[in-house]
Symmetry: C2
Subunit: 431 residues, 2 copies
């Protein structure tokens, strides 16, 4: 067996501790599959005194992770500090500059600077592994880059944020409202104190743009992602979704169109018959549609210490075994920023819910607004007469239409005097 | 870009033609990801005159695939002839002997001779790729070998035969009997004229034992697989399964136990809440349970020209890119035959259905037989009095018990005069 792969680990939070623990617990199995041992020889974290319950014997301690990353005798650096600016990026840069392989779970950093960092790594002849940055333990990047390498991908979509899927699942199962479930999720540790990144779709956008870059072989283009979160999804909409044969999921969707690459994150009505509709709670899933393979779905844990460590260590094993593959599947210097398909030109079906006053002519006004934009209704649900002056819901689903037309119709409908609240719109995804 | 990888293709059936077509259709994408073009330069098939609609220009034709496999100037041989004995094995042997990489979709050959062939390939320093042999387009071998390489796998199970899953899905949806659906499936081309390999579980056993070898890093051990097919599954059992919250699937299951490696193929009652319960029709799925990653499921097309070609070409791309990984995840010379856990010692829950004459004392006799073997009943369903002398069904589910005890109880129950047909037993899988 060859010499060990010598690792410096920057960051000893949940994932860092999990990585250290996994490398030790399964050391023999890992060495057998990697062809050599993988040893953590240096660690760095903010607070040396913090009690972590980790045995750090055999590791040197470094207050400065950047200084650690460039030490001679280190073969690879694991960056688990996080954040798109600040120290994490400097650790990665320094490691690459000094010819060390890098493995990171930092989706924000990669989403902002992935192409640039991949080019730097390629120029230095080192690997940049980021399997752990997307969908935790699901080895989707390896599957796209290698397992499905013979395919032209025609669409990729996924449930990429466990917090959102947990909230939406509980809202449906308990017929509860978003704010109540979020508060409870925060109490239970399934949502952060500041949940913005998760529930506003930003975390999903980071992961989607990395998936899209690997799937389509282009530069990472975070700015091109259309992003909406789940704050505006109501218990009522989830109930209507069920009645119409759908489940509401926050999806990231990317696909090449004639107008360019479409990348979008928003709540979707997905048919209950679609495999992804059954992905519940904190689980993540990614569906790849390839011209040869057809539909392939991977479902697993998208977060947590051990699943994320599983992905981090798989990258290390590839490095130890000398199985280099370019991080984005093709040489980094060939990565070009794709043309962006404008969201206004997106075509799809829509669900809208209006709260209207129950009086003659309301439906006629709404229908006229849709008709004037060439939006064709598929179904309408109008139910039970409310008490006098109470708003009643009207739910409409449309046939496929253009986003811009839909937005114009919604703007006009929103201004009707008989429409009492801001209309709710959720896109229907044809899966 | 480097020199092309020069390929000889043995076998031009469905998958062979699909591979040729895919390599040409996506040639640019494939070359970009592989770092070099992949060219088929030689082909061999039984009948040169057969009309295949393939453009074979640029390929030399060879009547003898073994002679083709050893030609100088060939870098890799694709074996798509099939069969565990005969010409396919000789093509693979000859190619390896002459230092050519080999890619094959031949599960029967690998299930019988996988370890030996992997050792030969390793000794010659060539790759033996067989991603296409298990679950068609699902890149499960790469995922096990590389993506989940940091994990100790605690259980692996899957729906590995699309024909069986198609038949069971239609039996449930149409409340139809096995023989009728099989006949229709044969008419539609979803089942072979001689369906034995599929419906008796042999094909699933081939794939399971390959999965187990990769997941647990041992020698392929087909003889150790307990195999039952789906011929005895009735529409009635499928209906009861639904009532009890289960779906019936033909699963291959492998897991290490204290008594050795358990490998078994049989119809299973799986909870309707389990993700694999939703895998319908011809789709395949594999679930891996790893100590770090937790539960990971992959679902996709397990057969067909294009999905299987996707897997064949992914192996070629790895070879072209110089990403060698041992076929079974660890060096072949280290592969040892695992100790086998005897099926009689298997522990699990059971579903049994008896057809009894509706008279006093029947249940008491059945209950006594179970009690004497320490089998604890979980539920019993006994329904509607039949016309005089007509058999009535009694359905019992048990708590976890040992297979041997269950078999003894069933033998005794089967001999009761009041039990009118041979009892039906289906294992319940705790997922």
């Amino acid at each position: 067996m060859s010499a060990p792969l010598r690792i410096a680990l920057a960051g000893l939070g949940t994932v860092g501790a999990g990585t250290l623990t996994l490398l030790r617990a399964n050391a023999a199995t890992i060495a057998r599959r990697a062809g050599r041992p993988i040893d953590i020889v240096a660690v760095s974290a903010r607070d040396k005194k913090k009690r972590r319950g980790l045995d750090l014997s055999g590791c040197t301690w470094h207050a400065d992770p950047v200084a650690m990353a460039v030490l001679p005798g280190i073969d690879a650096v694991i960056e688990l500090i996080g954040g798109s600016d600040g120290i994490a990026g400097r650790v990665v840069e320094a490691a690459i500059e000094h010819g060390k392989h890098v493995v990171t779970a930092n989706k924000a950093l990669l989403a902002h600077r992935g192409t640039e960092l991949a080019k730097r790594a390629e120029a230095k002849g080192v690997s940049l592994g980021f399997e752990a940055a997307v969908a935790g333990g699901i080895p989707i990047l390896k599957v796209l880059r290698e397992g499905l390498a013979a395919n032209r991908v025609t669409r990729i979509y996924g449930i990429l944020n466990g917090t959102c899927n947990y909230i939406l699942t509980r809202m449906r199962d308990e017929r509860a409202e978003f704010a109540d479930v979020l508060a409870d999720a925060q109490r239970l540790g399934y949502a952060e104190a500041d949940p913005t990144f998760d529930i506003d779709g930003i975390d999903t956008a980071h992961k989607l743009t990395l998936l899209a870059a690997v799937a389509f072989g282009g530069a990472v283009d975070l700015g091109a992602v259309h992003v909406e979160g789940i704050r505006h999804v109501s218990a009522q909409d989830i109930e209507y979704a069920g009645e119409l044969g759908y489940t509401i999921k926050l999806l990231g969707v990317a696909r090449p169109t004639e107008r360019g690459l479409e990348q979008r994150v928003h709540p979707c009505m997905v048919p209950q018959t679609a495999p992804i509709a059954h992905v519940e709670g904190v689980f993540n899933a990614v569906v790849v549609e390839g011209d040869a393979v057809g539909r392939l779905m991977l479902e697993g844990r998208g977060a947590g210490a051990a699943p994320t460590a599983s992905a981090v260590v798989s990258d290390l094993i590839d490095i130890a075994a000398g199985r280099g593959a370019p991080g984005f599947g093709v040489p980094a210097k060939a990565l070009r920023t794709p043309k962006t398909a404008p969201m206004a030109r997106h075509r799809g079906a829509y669900y809208i819910r209006l709260m209207v006053s129950d009086r003659p002519g309301v439906i006629a006004d709404v229908a006229a607004a849709l008709r004037d934009e060439q939006v064709s209704m598929e179904q309408m649900l109008q139910r039970g007469r409310a008490k006098a002056r109470e708003a009643v819901p009207v739910v409409i689903t449309t046939h496929e239409t253009e986003e811009a037309a839909m937005r114009r119709a919604m703007a006009r409908i929103g201004k009707l005097k008989t429409v009492l609240e801001s209309p709710c719109l959720i896109r229907i995804e044809n899966l």
